[in-house]
Structures are given as structure tokens and as C-alpha cells.
């Protein structure tokens, strides 16, 4: 701790909400041209203790800090995973780090998916693009506790087949009898035998029980607009539609103002919300 010129008799116990905990990179898997899966372990040996849907602030010292969803499930031991797309300073610097090097972690932060309210119900998960990253945490958790949930349906859409993430897991999910897993891509590529079209096209052959289904969606803003319309048309009430938003974040603790949507703070009140909470907010862009 560096204390500069504070009166010696100060009785304050000072804490910095910005102080990250060191974490070691224990595994690094290149998933795609731009996405890498990092497995991390906190240096003090503790578990991160995340809920699916929560995020962490990642520090590469000298470069900066950025928020990322935790992609692994709390059911899977003391290491945790982040899947990160290289887009700028922090994400590029991360790629250059080697196994055994340390980064800084703050969190888990924010409100995760309402897992407890989903138990005993049908779950309909809709992932668009990078939205699969936080949803992978939820999906893995649900599959590890499969008996707690009724029907599980997962729809995953990407721009091109190349962009599909976590292919091994996708294959395993596809092979399972106890879930309904469907994939689509906006554009077909040679050799692609799956569905072509936006994720909404997967809805057509789907029987959704509006009384007992919790839809959970994460994806780009355009996806929300269409998918929300579709689940509403199924008769699902607004306060049972779950979505997770991305905004610029500089603190993650409700101070810096960057993540605000009208009067709410995505970092604290979210990133997971119900549609009912957001629909009247102009800046939610739904």
C-alpha cells in the first residue's frame, strides 16, 4: 500500500475497489482467428465463486482493464475460464502472455442469471455470436445438474460456420439425448449441412410451453429485437424473459457512469436483466 501524506492518526480503514487479485494463466486454447479460451487460477488458491452470467474485470498491467464474462461453470472446480475476442489493447496484450504469467482479476461482478428460478422449469437458451461465452457457463451448469431442470433447448447462431466456438462441446451437446440443441449460421459455407438463416428461423419447428419456459438470450442488439418479439409471441410474460447486455465499463462497481442505461447501471444491476426491466428504457435499444 502506498500512502502519501495522510495524517498518521487517520482511523479510516482504506480499501481500494480497484485492486485486482493476481491470477495465473494455466491454459490457453486458440479457438478461432480472433478468440482464445483462457483458463485461470487465482494465485491465492481460492475459487472465483461466480454465478453463471457474472463477469470479471481483467487487468494487464501497463495496458489496462476490461470486462469479460466468466465462461466456465461454478460446478467445474477452482480454475475458471474466459473466452476473449481480440479487438483492441487489452485483448491483444492478453494474447501475448504466456502460460504461467499473471494477470489481475476483480470480481465476480454484477448480477448473474436467475439459476434458482430456472430449476424445475423448461429452459430455452438462445445464443448469438459471442453470446455463447457467458451462456456456456449456464449451459454447463444446467447439464451438470440436469435432473433439476425440465426440458432444455439451446439455439446457437453465428454469422458463418467458421465462427462457431467450443466445437468439441457443441458436438457433445448435439450427441446428448436429454437436450434439444440446434445450430444455425447466417451464411452457408461449402460443406455446411446445418440450418442457414438467423437464429429466429430455428424457432419455427419449436414447441414452446409458455407457462413453464424461461427463455435466456445473449447476443448482439439486433438479435434481441427479433428474438424478444418471437418469445413474446409464444405467450411468455415479459418478466420471465432473461437477457444479458454489453456496455462499455470502466469500473464495474457503479461509479464511473459508462455503463448506464438511463437510470440503471449495467455493471451492478445487470448485466442480466428481465425484458420487463428494460423495455421502457430507450437506451436499452431493445
Amino acid at each position: 500500500m502506498t500512502v502519501v501524506n495522510i495524517q498518521a492518526d487517520t482511523k479510516l480503514h482504506l480499501e481500494s475497489p480497484f485492486l485486482p487479485a493476481p491470477a495465473e494463466i494455466v491454459r490457453k486454447d486458440r479457438l478461432n482467428d480472433t478468440e482464445t479460451l483462457y483458463q485461470l487460477r487465482l494465485a491465492d488458491g481460492t475459487e472465483l465463486g461466480q454465478l453463471p452470467g457474472q463477469f470479471v474485470e481483467v487487468s494487464v498491467f501497463g495496458i489496462g482493464e476490461a470486462p469479460f464474462s466468466v465462461s466456465s461453470s461454478p460446478t467445474r472446480g477452482d480454475a475458471f475460464e474466459l473466452c476473449i475476442r481480440r479487438v483492441g489493447d487489452v485483448t491483444s496484450a492478453l494474447e501475448r502472455l504466456a502460460l504461467g504469467e499473471h494477470i489481475g482479476i476483480r470480481g465476480p461482478l454484477g448480477r448473474g442469471f436467475p439459476l434458482e428460478q430456472m430449476r424445475g422449469r423448461n429452459v430455452l437458451i438462445i445464443a448469438g455470436g459471442l453470446g455463447i461465452v457467458p451462456l456456456r457457463s449456464l449451459i454447463t451448469n444446467i447439464l451438470d445438474e440436469r435432473e433439476d431442470f425440465s426440458n432444455v433447448t439451446i439455439l446457437y447462431g453465428c454469422k458463418t460456420p467458421k465462427e462457431l466456438l467450443f466445437r468439441d462441446e457443441l458436438n457433445r451437446w448435439q450427441a446428448r439425448e436429454d437436450i434439444d440443441f440446434r445450430i444455425t449460421t447466417d451464411i452457408a459455407e461449402p460443406g455446411w449441412k446445418g440450418n442457414v438463416g438467423p437464429v429466429t428461423t430455428l424457432f419455427r419447428r419449436l414447441a414452446v410451453d409458455p407457462r413453464n419456459t424461461v427463455p435466456v438470450m445473449v447476443g448482439p442488439p439486433v438479435m434481441f429485437k427479433h428474438v424478444v418479439k418471437q418469445v413474446l409471441a409464444c405467450g411468455i410474460p415479459e418478466d420471465r424473459i432473461i437477457l444479458s447486455l454489453e456496455r462499455r465499463m470502466k469500473c464495474g462497481i457503479g461509479e464511473c457512469g459508462h455503463c448506464q442505461i438511463n437510470g440503471i447501471y449495467v455493471c451492478q444491476d445487470g448485466p442480466v436483466f428481465t425484458y420487463a426491466e428494460l423495455k421502457r428504457l430507450e437506451e436499452a435499444m431493445l
Binding site: 500512502v3 480497484f18 437510470g263
Partner: protein, 345 residues
């Protein structure tokens, strides 16, 4: 705690004594504008002054502030930085004390932000009551911030050639104990103070059609007002309004690497919701791109969101933003126009 009474000359002398050993900041006129800066002599102090260019909250929330220091010379090391200088701020206006209260709530109560807390704890606030309105831009009475209700260590009210001094905290009591010729207030003094306060009430008009507790509703009803478009066309997005505002607290965070390339620091810097990049994300989307939305966000944040979230108004009516806006956007006009005065393009 017992109130005191001092003559102006006794106070000036006490301040100079204090300033000989401590950082005393007070309003000083420079180049036609008044600002808080370090003083040594009572003669430096501005006599009559509008709210200063930058608010005194800058001492608790400086434009640039170090949060962390780190190095990777021998494995990664990171430590928080708590920086604070003991400063006595003299002449804090009631509106600015209310602003301190709001910042305290956000940085101390909602969050335990040690960086803020360290600086704040090291401040001693000597408030100065306003007995007459400053200019056409202020609307403190409508925002409930004319009355200094707390936040001060000492509060001075001018009475003739002296001051009535209220003691707000133990820190204030200790400080007044070091002042010479601060006699205890008696019944006659209190009576005089009451009269002064009564006179003040009639001097300050309500400049808003509504008081602050009605603003959230007025703003909620104005989501689609044409006024936002009019303001969006006018506003230059320069961010002057948010820079001078005592209740603005948004920031950006950056890392700097030292010349040795083996160590560095993380700092936060004032930021402004009026700038386009403020709400931009990785996919290139900016969630508040059009200017009218940014202006709307600022006024909603001031008049509605903070009220809804923390139960206190996010604006203290100091008028700084209006005084410094190049195109004359004023919260008094905005709030009153939303209330129903006609909007002209």
C-alpha cells in the same frame, strides 16, 4: 456543540495563522474569475464571489487520480495508492456542501472507495452561508440546497462586522478551539442570526416551476419532448458543463507505463457523458450517439436518475454549467420548458 461569534478581523488573523502551517484553500480572484486555490494571507480572499469556476469538490475528486501502482520487475506486484493532503477549505458555499454530501454517498456509502475516502477525510470544510443570490443562473433554493444542512465542519454566517459560527463536527470544534477571540454565542446572537436567515428567505426566489422532488416526474413525462432535439442541435458536446459541475463524477481509467518499462500506474481521469466515445463498445456501437440523447441523459441524470436511485437530487443548482456553456444551455430554462413553457426552434 456551542456556536461561536467572531469579528472579521479575528477570523482573518486566525486563518493566516492556520495558513502558515497548513494548506488553506479559499476563493481567490484571478483574471476575472474566482477559483479555489491555496492562500497565505486573508487579503488574497475574494470578497463577493459567484460559485467558483471549478467546485471545491475537486479536492476530494481531483481531475487525475492515482489508483494503483504496479511493477513486474520481480514478478507482478500491485498496490493501491491512497493519496491525501490535509486541506482546510474556507468559504464553501451551501450548494457545494450539498455536492460533497452526494459524492460522500456514492463514494463512501454505496462504495467503500478508499481513494475518495482518504482525500475526503483529510478535508476540513469551513462553509460560508449565502445571504443574497449570486446571479441569474443559480437556483439553489429550488433544489433544496440553499440551506446548509450538513457536510460542514464549521459554518459561517456574516453578521455585520463579524461571523456567527456554527460547529458541525468534532473536527470543527477542534479547529475553532485554535481560533482566537471566538466567543460563545449568546441569546442575542442567535436572535440576530434568525433575523438574518429570515431576510435571506425573501431574497431568494424559486426559479424552477417545480421543486426538485417533482423533477423526476416532469422528466419522465418528457421522454419524447421536442426540446431534446432542439438542445441536441444547439449543444457542441464540448463537455464544459460536466467539467465544472460539482455533482458530476464520471471517470475514465488508464494505465501509464514508467520510463523503466517495468512499472507503471493506473489512474482515473474526469470524463464526460457529453462526449460521443463515452458509451461506445467493442462492436463499434455507441449507445448514446445522437447529441440529443446525450443532452437528455445529462439532465435526466441530474434531475431524475440520482433522485430515483439515491433519494437525493443530482443537481445542487449552482448554475456553473449555465455560466460556462458557450451556447447558453441553462438547466433553469430546460427544466421550466419541460414543465410546459413553449419550445421554440
Amino acid at each position: 456543540m456551542v456556536d461561536r461569534v467572531m469579528t472579521k478581523s479575528a477570523l482573518a488573523e486566525s486563518l493566516e495563522q492556520l495558513a502558515a502551517t497548513l494548506h488553506v484553500a479559499a476563493p481567490v480572484e484571478e483574471g476575472g474569475r474566482v477559483m479555489f486555490r491555496r492562500v497565505r494571507y486573508a487579503a488574497e480572499l475574494a470578497n463577493h464571489y459567484l460559485p467558483t469556476m471549478l467546485p471545491p469538490t475537486k479536492y476530494a475528486r481531483p481531475p487525475h487520480e492515482e489508483l494503483l501502482r504496479f511493477s513486474w520487475a520481480e514478478g507482478p506486484r500491485v498496490e493501491p495508492v491512497f493519496e491525501a493532503e490535509e486541506i482546510v477549505i474556507f468559504g464553501v458555499r451551501p450548494c457545494d456542501m450539498h455536492a460533497f454530501d452526494l459524492l460522500d454517498q456514492i463514494f463512501s456509502e454505496e462504495n467503500s472507495d478508499g481513494h475518495y475516502q482518504a482525500r475526503r477525510e483529510a478535508l476540513t470544510l469551513i462553509g460560508m452561508e449565502c445571504l443574497e443570490p449570486c446571479d441569474e443562473h443559480s437556483f439553489c433554493r429550488s433544489m433544496g440546497s440553499l440551506e446548509a444542512t450538513g457536510g460542514f465542519d464549521l459554518l459561517l454566517s456574516e453578521m455585520g462586522d463579524g461571523y456567527y459560527v456554527r460547529v458541525g463536527t468534532a473536527k470543527g470544534r477542534a479547529l475553532i478551539g485554535t481560533f482566537q477571540d471566538a466567543r460563545e454565542a449568546v441569546y442575542e446572537d442567535r436572535k440576530r442570526l434568525r433575523k438574518t436567515c429570515l431576510r435571506r428567505e425573501s431574497q431568494f426566489e424559486h426559479r424552477l416551476e417545480d421543486t426538485y422532488d417533482e423533477l423526476p416526474r416532469v422528466l419522465a413525462d418528457s421522454e419524447d419532448s421536442l426540446l431534446w432535439d432542439v438542445l441536441g442541435e444547439k449543444c457542441l458536446s464540448c463537455g464544459a458543463c460536466t467539467n465544472v459541475c460539482p455533482t458530476c463524477f464520471c471517470f475514465d481509467v488508464h494505465d501509464d507505463v514508467n520510463l523503466d518499462l517495468k512499472s507503471g500506474r493506473r489512474r482515473r481521469h474526469w470524463d464526460s457523458c457529453q462526449l460521443e466515445e463515452f458509451a461506445m463498445v467493442g462492436t463499434g456501437e455507441s449507445f448514446r450517439q445522437p447529441r440529443n440523447l446525450r443532452v437528455k441523459h445529462r439532465f435526466n441524470h441530474k434531475g431524475r436518475y440520482l433522485m430515483e436511485r439515491y433519494g437525493v437530487p443530482g443537481c445542487v443548482g449552482c448554475g456553473r454549467c449555465a455560466r460556462d456553456c458557450l451556447v447558453g444551455i441553462s438547466p433553469i430554462e430546460v427544466f421550466n420548458q419541460l414543465k410546459g413553457q413553449p419550445v421554440e426552434r
